[in-house]
Symmetry: C2
Subunit: 255 residues, 2 copies
Amino acid sequence: MKSVVIIGAGNVAFHLTRALLQNTVNVRQIFNRTLSKAEELGEANNIKYTDKISELEKADLYIIAASDSAVEELSHYIPYTDALVVHTSGSLSTNVLKGNYRKGVFYPLQTFTKKKMLRYEEIPFFVEAENKEDEEALYKLADRISNEVHRIDSAQRLKVHLAAVWVSNFTNHMYSVGEAICKESELPFDVLRPLIKETANKVMDMSPYDAQTGPARRNDQLILTKHLELMNDDSRRQQLYKLISESIKRTYNND
Amino acid sequence: MKSVVIIGAGNVAFHLTRALLQNTVNVRQIFNRTLSKAEELGEANNIKYTDKISELEKADLYIIAASDSAVEELSHYIPYTDALVVHTSGSLSTNVLKGNYRKGVFYPLQTFTKKKMLRYEEIPFFVEAENKEDEEALYKLADRISNEVHRIDSAQRLKVHLAAVWVSNFTNHMYSVGEAICKESELPFDVLRPLIKETANKVMDMSPYDAQTGPARRNDQLILTKHLELMNDDSRRQQLYKLISESIKRTYNND
């Protein structure tokens, strides 16, 4: 890909722009419908930016790095038929891209926050395209950034995204409940941080299936009951505790 | 504490022994009902070991580092009235200790596996004792190992343990479901590892409440429905997905 235009200026756009530039890819322009956002990302990286479709430059690749709900609308903006246009979503098919151009997907599997720096070479990328040459070009581009690139179809990508929701969004919610319990007990969340870190560390070289511990894993009914009693004032938290514990028990067939 | 005897030879005993020795505490003896296990831990650390109660040496402190269900029975074994006896459990009160001696708790908040080395100074310790001097002595002992020591009562400790189940055991189960989905899609679990690491890293200096992302957080009904459809062959996984998503929505009042 000789030249790239980034459509969007949010968390994914921020990190993709940096990752591409770090690997000497020619990022030509940032487009965002809010000029101030395009400006911020453009200025930070010394790249041209615009909020006007009429000013959209010609490039080999357009990466729409926007929220799922915005991708389709943004996809109308690209007027060049001789271009490849991709989105970065884990769950959208290429069909949401509505212009008269070649289509594909460039999906980085990571949780992005502007403030948090990342090692881009560790981020798995999943690429997909309507034709082989484009898939190959996307593969090569991702391969410049990352050590782990996969070619997958939309059905598989949807599964990866679903798995990501479990290990990231749902995991964070578990942290969040822990934080709430700490607050209720007037203990700082800090006391849980080393445990959170080590729980993640453990599965870096172990299977989560093997790493499972705790009262549900041991089927320790005494503690399970005690914990449920502790949550008597919050029936929904109780119900969630029960269901996750049952799911753990079932996983090890000791239900 | 001039001298310590460790009762038990499992994961917690293994790491506590190492942590105490590293901080030049005099660990006098390992006791375990299975000689081979006592031997393994004793030999590895150049400490005496036994499986015979009659050979239990006199010490200032006995740490029962055993599974919750074994603590009470083991507590009968200690014949010395002039000693402090503690367990390492997050959920048991001091009442389970049945001998005629002074009682307390020495609870390290971490997930322990023998193979996985740990930085002991980062592990939060929670201490409790029936009298002030013992509490002070336990505090000082924990303080030699760790940078984060707290005095708490049994009710608070139970809450900490409950919070730990959420952020560690339940989190690991989320990883486990992710692993299962990968397996079903013939993708290596490796693709999820960077995301798992970063999801934990994120909350090292951020509140999980602020770090939450994902379809449930955005109330993205389109993706939530798509994901539920993907799990049509597993109604229990579906139910769990639904309940956790609802819990996230409720947390941000966008239900």
